[in-house]
Symmetry: C2
Subunit: 436 residues, 2 copies
């Protein structure tokens, strides 16, 4: 970036795809970036910041490399959803600084958007959409589309508002292009609007967009005022984010950052492991309390891990199905659904318990041992299955993400119930088992 | 659907969103559907079938409710990617029947597309794209866009081909709308094309589209011939599908179908559980072989589930991180990466082992026991961590989806290594432990 080569830099930078610009900008050495933000236009800088991922780079630090005035200009030129994401990463003091440098109306609208919860439709929407009055003709609307096309985040749909500014319909650009200029747009306006509320959960919004194959979806308030639009690129990110969350939950480790140092990687695994360890101590205590039983029949120890392991596996399956059922919004918390899960658990328990009975009886030539282990296995699986089913449901009912009920939590909890069941069953048969 | 109300039915059906049409059509009683496919136009029926999900309804049965001639017409009118998905659900005999009823050229192109593997870019692409020669003006291209807009699956980008039909650039509809009519399109053609090959893995394609925020991406052969286009709605489905696969893998149960009957739900869980049970028997055998040790120190039994459980949890974390790392394409299989994982495993093992040492020593007033359990825990965690890291990497290297290495498999395997480590360590200390 020596002088004289400025134009070359600008030209080759602007030839990049938006995503690449952002990657290159973030990876420039800091002293080059100090030149770059002076050379590049506000519009290009806005594109750069629009394409930086908040969770991958320290986007606030990048913005603060510029004087606040320029930073505020970039924020203004960004799509509102991205600008708000960026602002949400800042301290209240920093937010106030930037907002004070923006025009009153923009600052006010940004302030409102910042208040939407991270996981809601409101946090995803941008206010750069195309909207027209209802009494126009196709060519009038096309003129407006052409005029506003550069600012709008998506030009695939034009929203139709009535005199009160309420959303009454939507026109696709495809229909605009394939109908005669003088047609009233009311003829091609679809008034069966599918919209979401600003407070709606982002996962539900993503489901609608995925089902309907929309390229964007409008966000309205209770009176059908159009508040903003969510575009499909944000939906792609939401689906990915939610999947990572569910996956992380099942494994009890956050997998959204995967290129950690060994130190950071260890740090994020240890707290969960220690917490589960404490729960595991309860299981150890239970087994310890049956030490007389173990002394009488050491063979009982051999099946501890078989029973806890298998019940844990069954519980994990049941948990995964329950979390997924809640995620796609098809949970039925009625008795029928519960009974259906009990029945599935019984079937799974019976099949697995019977297998264990046969294997252990033949292997150890001990019918009583096989029977005790088989019965314990069946009961342990049934309980683990129900825990895997009920715990995410309860967590969901009290308003949390069911994905926090991790697989390792369920398996560790089911270890406890499994050994309780196992040793209590074994106790019943101890007179026939002792000495084996 | 009584006679006389036909028009009413058609009108109200066509007023629905495409997705809703498909839902309604699939849920009609079969005798009504027999009337419906006679009333509805081929274009509307094609939209219905375009919007039916192959994995949710028996789409082949729905198509076969019509005479083969009409079915073939619907297939022809569908977007190629969806038509091919549908054909791929059929038997070779059924495929041959439908293709024989199509025009030769269409049948031939469908036959080629059917051969692309389910998980590749080729299976996602449709051939209904907008393409123009390079030496046109903006208004020429807009005329072509308007003419073909109804057939194209996406109108957001127009692809530019040279005289040999090779892909040389892409023009966005936004740029077409915001530039003067008489401008040569070469001025607004982006020649930095991002394209994928037909054989590319769908997950990688999805990653590119997600990163670049594309609305569609071209698929080319090795010579840059344009083969087709993948639209973002298919990418949304891919991301969801891949997430469900990874999640299912981690839990050892297929969660893509969640509204199974108890019977089906049990059937899909049992095979995995029984398979893992057999692996678990190996662990039981190992513990059984140490029964003399257990008789001497029954307290050892108390910590079996603590060690196997905690090591299993650590292995699951490590597995989840490894699978995710491979999924986003950032796996480095070099020594440095391996050492980094060993180091993380050591840190996790040390922290957890030390915690166990402290807890057990204080709780049981037995320094030797605490030391033995702590050391065994540390080693068991290190081994489980490495298994969780290496197994998906190996599976990936030999060409399978690493997600098949399920969490329950890793935990069950780590049960085996954990008890081996535990009892061998305990053996070293047995003279000080016996009697406790």
């Amino acid at each position: 970036l020596q002088s004289g080569q400025d134009h070359e830099f600008i030209d080759s930078f602007e030839a990049l795809h938006d995503f690449e610009m952002a990657q290159v900008y973030a990876e420039l050495p800091v002293q080059f970036r100090a030149v770059a933000w002076r050379l590049l236009s506000i519009a290009i800088l806005a594109t750069v910041f629009d394409n930086l991922a908040v969770d991958e780079v320290d986007i606030v630090a990048l913005l603060q490399e510029m004087p606040p005035q320029r930073g505020a200009q970039v924020l203004q030129a960004m799509y509102t959803d991205n600008a708000v994401d960026l602002l949400q990463e800042m301290s209240p003091r920093q937010i106030a600084t930037y907002l004070s440098l923006m025009p009153k109306s923009e600052a006010e609208s940004a302030r409102q958007l910042i208040n939407y919860d991270d996981q809601t439709a409101g946090s995803l929407m941008s206010t750069e959409y195309l909207a027209v009055k209802e009494d126009l003709r196709v060519d009038d609307v096309m003129r407006l589309v052409k005029k506003q096309a550069l600012e709008a985040e998506s030009i695939s749909y034009v929203y139709v508002l009535d005199r009160q500014g309420l959303l009454v319909g939507v026109i696709s650009l495809r229909d605009l292009l394939t109908h005669p200029d003088n047609l009233p747009v009311s003829e091609i306006t679809n008034d069966r609007i599918i919209s979401v509320s600003a407070g709606d959960d982002q996962e539900q919004v993503a489901q609608i967009v995925a089902d309907y194959n929309f390229l964007s979806i409008p966000v309205t308030d209770d009176d059908q005022h159009l508040l903003g639009v969510i575009t499909v690129d944000d939906i792609v990110d939401v689906i990915d984010e939610e999947a990572v969350e569910d996956y992380s939950g099942l494994a009890a480790v956050n997998v959204s950052q995967i290129n950690d140092s060994p130190w950071h990687s260890a740090i994020k695994r240890i707290p969960w492991l220690i917490a589960l360890l404490l729960l595991g101590m309860a299981t150890a205590t239970v087994i310890g309390s049956f030490d007389e039983l173990v002394k009488q029949a050491a063979i009982l120890a051999a099946f501890i891990s078989l029973i806890t392991g298998t019940a844990g596996n069954a519980g994990t399956q049941s948990l995964a199905l329950a979390v997924r059922r809640i995620a796609v919004g098809s949970e039925h918390s009625g008795w029928q659904d519960f009974l259906s899960e009990v029945l599935a658990g019984l079937l799974v328990g019976l099949a697995t318990g019977a297998s264990v009975f046969v294997i252990v009886t033949i292997w150890k030539h001990n019918l009583i041992l096989g029977f005790a282990v088989g019965i314990a296995m069946m009961m342990a699986i049934l309980v683990a299955n129900l825990a895997g089913y009920l715990i995410p449901l309860i967590i969901h009912k009290i308003g949390f993400d069911p994905a926090v009920a991790s697989g390792p939590f369920i398996t560790t909890l089911s270890d406890l119930t499994s050994v309780l069941i196992y040793f209590n069953v074994a106790q019943l048969f101890i007179s026939q088992l002792s000495g084996s």
